[in-house]
C-alpha cells in the first residue's frame, strides 16, 4: 500500500514536471543570456525600401548594448596581437573595405552582411554571421582571451551584455555580429530613386536599363536591390586556373564543376574600389565592363547566364552604353552609409 502511494505520488510529480517542461517554450523571452540584474534594450533594425527580411538567430537578437559592444570591439586593436583592428582593413569611408590592393586579394566590404550565408571570395566560410565572426576572432585574429579577461572594461561590458564572467570567442563573435549586422547600406542615389525621392539622370537610367535587361543582363547575379545573390558563379574570368586562388569555390568543395567560381561581389559602393575581382586584376570599372563586353572566356562550366547567344561574341555595348552602365554603377554609392557616425569609431 505504502509503495503504491509512493508510486502514485511520483507519477503526480512527474506529471507536474512534464507539464512545466513541456510548457516552458511558451515563454517568449528570446534572450537566454540576460542576467536578472541587467535589462538590455531591444533594437529594431530598420530595413531600406524593398530589402528582403533579415533573418536573425534567436540567440542573438539585436540589443543596443550588444551592438555598442560589437562596435567597440570592431575598432579596438585589443582583438589582435599586432595592433590591427577590424577597421584597419574594413575602413568605413571606403565602404568598410580598403580601396587599394594591400593584400593578395581585395578586402571584401562589410555591407549588408546580415543577408549572407556564404562568406569570403571562395566561400570558405558558410553559416550565420555569428559563425563567421567567431572564425574572425578565434582563427584570423587569434584573440588573446587572457588579455580580454584582464580588461576591466570588457569584463564589465560582456557581463552586462551577455551575462558571462569569462569572455570566450563565442561572445566576442556574437558581439561583432551584432554590430556588423547594422552595417546596412540602403540610401544610395539609386535607393532614393526607388523610393521616389529623386530621379536619376537619363544617362544613369540608360545604364540601369542595360543592367536590368538582357542587354547587359547583370541582375541575375547582382540581384534586385541586394546587388549580390550571395552564390557562386564562373563568369569566365579565367580559362586556366594558374594560381590556387583562381580555383575559387573548387578549393572548398573539391568538385571540378566549381572551378573558377566566386561569390558574386556586392556592387554597392563599388565605385569607391580601385581593384576588382577576386585577385584585383582590373583597376577600373571601365576594365570590368570591357571584360563583360568582350573578355568573357568560354569555359565548360561558364555560368549559363553568361552564355546566351549575344554574349558568345560579347555584349556588343557601344562606348556610350559602357559609360552609361558605369554611370549607373556610381549611383550605388551611399554617402549616408559612408559618413554615418553611428557606425564609426566610438568616442
Amino acid at each position: 500500500m505504502k509503495n503504491k502511494t509512493i508510486a502514485l505520488t511520483a507519477a503526480l510529480i512527474t506529471a507536474f514536471t512534464i507539464t512545466i517542461i513541456s510548457c516552458k517554450k511558451e515563454k517568449t523571452t528570446s534572450d537566454t543570456n540576460t542576467t536578472e540584474t541587467t535589462v538590455l534594450t531591444p533594437y529594431e533594425i530598420l530595413l531600406p525600401t524593398r530589402f528582403p527580411e533579415l533573418v536573425i538567430p534567436d540567440d542573438n537578437k539585436p540589443y543596443e548594448e550588444r551592438i555598442q559592444l560589437g562596435r567597440e570591439l570592431y575598432y579596438d586593436p585589443i582583438l589582435s596581437n599586432d595592433g590591427r583592428s577590424c577597421a584597419s582593413c574594413h575602413i568605413q569611408s571606403q565602404g568598410f573595405t580598403i580601396s587599394e590592393m594591400k593584400y593578395d586579394m581585395p578586402v571584401l566590404p562589410h555591407i549588408n552582411l546580415g543577408w549572407y550565408s556564404n562568406f569570403m571570395w571562395d566561400g570558405s566560410k558558410q553559416g550565420t554571421l555569428e559563425d563567421v565572426m567567431q572564425f574572425e576572432t578565434r582563427d584570423f585574429f587569434s584573440t588573446d582571451l587572457a588579455k580580454m579577461n584582464s580588461s576591466s572594461k570588457y569584463k564589465a561590458l560582456f557581463k552586462k551584455c551577455f551575462g558571462v564572467d569569462n569572455i570566450t570567442h563565442k561572445e566576442i563573435g556574437y558581439a561583432l555580429a551584432q554590430f556588423t549586422r547594422t552595417l546596412i547600406s540602403g540610401d544610395s542615389k539609386y535607393d532614393r530613386y526607388l523610393s521616389g525621392a529623386i530621379d536619376l539622370t537619363p544617362f544613369e537610367k540608360k545604364g540601369m536599363e542595360i543592367f536590368y535587361t538582357e542587354k547587359g543582363d547583370c541582375f541575375h547575379c547582382h540581384t534586385n536591390v541586394m546587388y549580390t545573390d550571395n552564390l557562386f558563379h564562373n563568369t569566365g574570368v579565367d580559362s586556366i586556373y594558374a594560381k590556387e586562388a583562381d580555383k575559387g569555390y573548387y578549393n572548398v568543395t573539391k568538385n571540378i564543376l566549381d572551378l573558377g567560381k566566386f561569390k558574386t561581389p556586392n556592387l554597392r559602393n563599388v565605385a569607391l574600389r580601385t581593384h576588382f575581382m577576386h585577385d584585383g586584376r582590373y583597376t577600373s570599372l571601365d576594365e570590368v565592363v570591357e571584360f563583360y563586353n568582350n573578355g568573357v572566356r568560354k569555359v565548360s562550366n561558364l555560368d549559363p547566364i553568361m552564355t546566351k547567344p549575344g554574349k558568345i561574341n560579347g555584349l556588343k555595348l557601344t562606348a556610350e552604353d559602357k559609360a552609361a552602365l558605369i554611370a549607373f554603377l556610381k549611383t550605388l554609392t551611399d554617402t549616408t552609409f559612408l559618413n554615418n557616425t553611428a557606425l564609426g569609431k566610438p568616442e
Partner: protein, 240 residues
C-alpha cells in the same frame, strides 16, 4: 488509477493555453503535395551530362527553380476549393518540394488545377513576401516586372563543346496553367499526401519540340521562345 487520471488532466490543462488562434474546423484536413523529378526514365542528377531531349540535344541541369500558385481542387468538374498560396520551389532544396495545404475541406477530389508561375495579382515586385529567395527571383521592371516563374538552367553539348542554356519564364501572360486528374481523399483532421512528378524533358517536347541549336539557349526577353516553353509546361507534371 484515479490519481493517474488526475495527473493527466493537469498535463492537458497545463498546456491548453499554448494553442493559439481558432481551432481548425472538424471537417477539414491537411494535404501535402510532394514533388519529385525525372528526365524521362532517368532520375534527376545535378550537373550530369546524361540527358537527351526530343530534339537530340545532350544536356545537363544545374538549376531548377519555379513557383506554383492558384491551386484549385475539383470534384465532378465542380470547383470546391481554391487556395491563394504561392509556393517557391527549388528542386535542389528538398523541403521546398513538399507543399503543405492546411484546412482543405474534407472531400474526395478527382482533379486539381494550378499555375506554374505567380498569378498576375501578386506578380509585381513586392507582391510576394520579401524573402531572399523571392528577391533572387525578381523579374526586373524594365522587362515587365514581377518574378521569374521558372529558371531552368544547365549546359548542353554543341559542335564546339559545352554551352549554357537558361530557360526563363516570366511576365504576365506567360503563366502556365495546368491540371491533373487525381484521387485525393481529404479525411477530417488528418494529413493526406499526393505525389506528383515533373518530367523535365517535357519542357522541350510537346507541343513544341525545343532545340537549343535552332531555337536558342536563352528565353528571357524573347516572347516567342517563352511562349513555346509555356505551352510545353502544360505537360511537365504527372501523378506518380
Amino acid at each position: 488509477m484515479r490519481v493517474y487520471f488526475f495527473a493527466l488532466c493537469i498535463l492537458i490543462w497545463g498546456c491548453k493555453k499554448r494553442e493559439t488562434g481558432v481551432q481548425p474546423p472538424y471537417n477539414t484536413g491537411n494535404l501535402s503535395i510532394n514533388i519529385t523529378y525525372s528526365v524521362d526514365a532517368q532520375p534527376l542528377s545535378w550537373n550530369d551530362l546524361v540527358y537527351k531531349n526530343e530534339a537530340g540535344n545532350e544536356y545537363s541541369i544545374s538549376k531548377l527553380q519555379y513557383y506554383l500558385s492558384d491551386f484549385r481542387f475539383y470534384k465532378n468538374n465542380i470547383l470546391l476549393q481554391g487556395v491563394d498560396s504561392v509556393f517557391y520551389i527549388d528542386a535542389n532544396i528538398s523541403n521546398t518540394n513538399n507543399l503543405l495545404f492546411r484546412n482543405i475541406n474534407s472531400e474526395k477530389y478527382d482533379s486539381v488545377s494550378f499555375c506554374i508561375g505567380v498569378m498576375p495579382a501578386k506578380n509585381s515586385i513586392g507582391g510576394l513576401p520579401a524573402t531572399v529567395d523571392n528577391n533572387n527571383m525578381v523579374w526586373p521592371d524594365m522587362m515587365g516586372g514581377g518574378y521569374h516563374f521558372l529558371k531552368l538552367e544547365g549546359h548542353w553539348k554543341d559542335t564546339t563543346g559545352l554551352n549554357g542554356f537558361a530557360m526563363h519564364l516570366g511576365k504576365n501572360g506567360f503563366q502556365c496553367f495546368t491540371g491533373l486528374k487525381c484521387k485525393i481523399d481529404i479525411l477530417p483532421q488528418s494529413l493526406s499526401v499526393w505525389q506528383i512528378k515533373m518530367n523535365i524533358n517535357e519542357w522541350f517536347r510537346t507541343p513544341n519540340v525545343y532545340n537549343f541549336s535552332t531555337d536558342g539557349v536563352y528565353t528571357m526577353g524573347n516572347d516567342l521562345l517563352m511562349q513555346k516553353i509555356k505551352e510545353n509546361g502544360v505537360n511537365v507534371f504527372s501523378i506518380l
